[in-house]
Amino acid sequence: MTPRSESISVPYGSVVVGNVTIPESFQEKIYTIPNRRNLRTVSPKIYGQVEYGNSNLLVVGMISEQEAELKKWWNVEGSLPQNDANQVLLGSAVASFLRLSVGSTITINGMALTVVGILSETGSVDDYSLFLPLHTAQRLLNQPGVVSVIDVGAICKDCPVEVISQQIMNALPGVKATPVKQAVETRMEAVEQTANFSLLLASIILVVGCAGVMNTMLASVHERIKEIGIFMSLGADSIHLYKIFILESLILGLIGGLIGCFVGLASSVLVGPLFMNMMISFLELPLYPIPLSIALSVVASLTASLYPAWRASKIDPVQALRTV
C-alpha cells in the first residue's frame, strides 16, 4: 500500500517556454476530471525572459502558496511575494549576482519590485530565477490572462499518474499533460513509511488480539466447567464441544471484525487530514479492506479458540459436575 504521488507538467503544444501559452482559466477546468479529489496542488506559471542591463533574467510568475506547496524543499529567507503585489522572490544566484537583499528594490522594464524574500540554494534553475506573483509577471511580460505551464500535483494510491494525465488531456483539449515523477517524492516517502509502520502495528495488534481471544476463551472454558460437565452428562462428545467454542469464537471474531472495520474507516477519515494532510472521503476508500479485515479477524479468533476448545473436550465430566 504505497500511495503514489506524482507531479504533472502541462505545457501547451511544444514545450517552448514563453512563446505558446494556455488560458489561465484552464486551472479551474482541471478540477472537472473524474479523479479531481486526488489533486493536491494546481500551480499555474508563466515563464519569460526580460532584459536587465546587459543580461537576460528569467522571470517566473506563480501563485506563491501553490508553488511553495509543490516545492516543499524551498527554504525562503524573508517571505513569499503576495498576490498581485509588486514584490519579488529571488533565486540565490540572482540575488548574489545583482547584490540584492531583502528590502531592496529592483526596477525591470520600468516596473519597481520590492525584494521580499531570497531562496536558499536549491541546485536547480530556481537559483537563477526571479519569482513574481502570477498577475504581476503577466503585466511585466505583457501577456495578461495566460500562463506557460500548469504544474499539477496529485496523490493517489490506486490510480497511476498516467490515468490522471490522460484525464486532464480529455478535459482540456489541445493540452499535453506529461507525467513527471518527482516533485513530491519526500511526501510520498513519508506516506510509504507511515503505511509500513501501520502494517507493522497491525501485525503486532493481530498477535496481541489472538492472545487476548485465547485468554478470554480459556477463562470462559474455566468459568463454564460445570456447564461443560452437564453437557457431557447429556451425551455431548468432543465434536459438540468444539462446535460450541468455535461457534462462539466465530461470532466474537465477526463482531470484533465489524467493529474494528468501522472504527478503522472512521479514524482514517478523521486522522488522515491531521497527520498526512490528505483529505479522505468515505466514498473514495477502497472496499477490499472491509472483507479482508473481517476475514482476518474471524480466522484469528478461530485459530485462537482451538486450544481452549481442545481443553474443554478433555474435561473430566464427573469432576466438572462436582465443582460448585
Binding site: K226, S233, L234, G235, D237, S238, I239, H240, L321
Partner: protein, 231 residues
C-alpha cells in the same frame, strides 16, 4: 439389563490408594427401581457415574444391554449415553440462562433430532412431568420442585432406558421430595424406565423394589427382589 462384574475404581491420593469402588458385582434388570444407600464417601455416586458411562473403572467390566460400555471409543460412548441414559442431580444443574423448554431441548440438539421437532418433543416431556405451563420460565423463576421436574424432563426427553438420579430430593423439602419420588415411580411404572437413585433417606429408599447398601466401596447388603412388585 445392567451388569457390573468385579468393578473397582481406585483414586491415587499421593501415595495412598482410595478404593471408591472395591469389587462391585451388580445386576439391574430393565424396569427395576434401585435405591443406593450408604454414608458419604461410600462410593454411591461413583457407582452411579460408572453405570452412567461417565467414569471409567480401574478394573472390571460394565455392560448395558450386552454392550461393554468402557470398551467403546469416547465418542461412541457419548452417543450411547445420549440414547440410553438420563441424569438428574441433587442441585438440578439446569442451564440458568435458558428457559425450562430450552433446557429440555438441549439433549435433542446433541442427538441431531430435526430442529423442527424439538419444541414439540420437549413440550411433551414437560407435560409428562406436569410442568407444561411453566415452559417459558427461567430456572430462577421456578421453585426447587419445579426445577427438578424440568431436570427430569430433560433426562427423559431422548427416551432413554435408564434414568440415574444422584440425591434427587437432597435439596427439596419433605413434601416436594415425595412428589418427585412419586413422579420417578410413575415413569418407572408406565414407561418401564430403569431408575437408579442414590439417596440418604431410608423412607424414600424403601419405596423402591431393590435397595443397595454401600460402605467403603463395597455392596454390603442387597435386599434384592424383596420389594419387587411385578415380573
Amino acid at each position: 439389563m445392567i451388569v457390573m462384574k468385579d468393578v473397582t475404581k481406585i483414586y491415587e491420593m499421593g501415595s495412598a490408594q482410595i478404593f471408591a469402588l472395591n469389587g462391585v458385582n451388580l445386576e439391574v434388570e430393565d424396569g427395576d427401581f434401585l435405591a443406593v444407600m450408604g454414608p458419604s464417601g461410600s462410593g454411591k455416586s461413583t457407582l452411579l457415574y460408572t453405570i452412567g458411562t461417565l467414569l471409567t473403572p480401574t478394573k472390571g467390566n460394565v455392560t448395558i444391554n450386552g454392550k461393554s460400555i468402557y470398551k467403546m471409543k469416547p465418542r461412541q460412548r457419548a452417543k450411547f449415553r445420549r440414547e440410553n441414559i438420563g441424569f438428574i442431580f441433587q442441585t438440578f444443574e439446569l442451564i440458568p440462562y435458558l428457559t425450562a423448554l430450552e433446557n429440555v431441548m438441549l439433549p435433542l440438539y446433541l442427538s441431531g433430532v430435526a430442529i423442527s421437532k424439538h419444541e414439540d418433543i420437549a413440550k411433551e416431556a414437560l407435560r409428562k412431568v406436569g410442568l407444561a405451563h411453566r415452559a417459558l420460565h427461567k430456572p430462577t423463576e421456578l421453585s426447587g420442585g419445579e426445577q427438578q421436574r424440568v431436570s427430569i424432563a430433560r433426562g427423559i426427553v431422548n427416551n432413554p432406558r435408564i434414568l440415574l438420579a444422584d440425591e434427587p430430593t437432597g435439596n427439596l423439602d419433605q413434601k416436594t421430595g415425595k412428589e418427585i419420588i412419586q413422579l420417578l415411580h410413575k415413569l418407572n411404572d408406565r414407561d418401564e424406565l430403569t431408575v437408579i437413585m442414590v439417596t440418604h433417606d431410608p423412607e424414600k429408599a424403601c419405596l423402591s423394589n431393590m435397595v443397595l447398601q454401600m460402605i467403603d466401596g463395597r455392596v454390603v447388603e442387597d435386599e434384592q427382589r424383596t420389594y419387587r412388585k411385578r415380573r
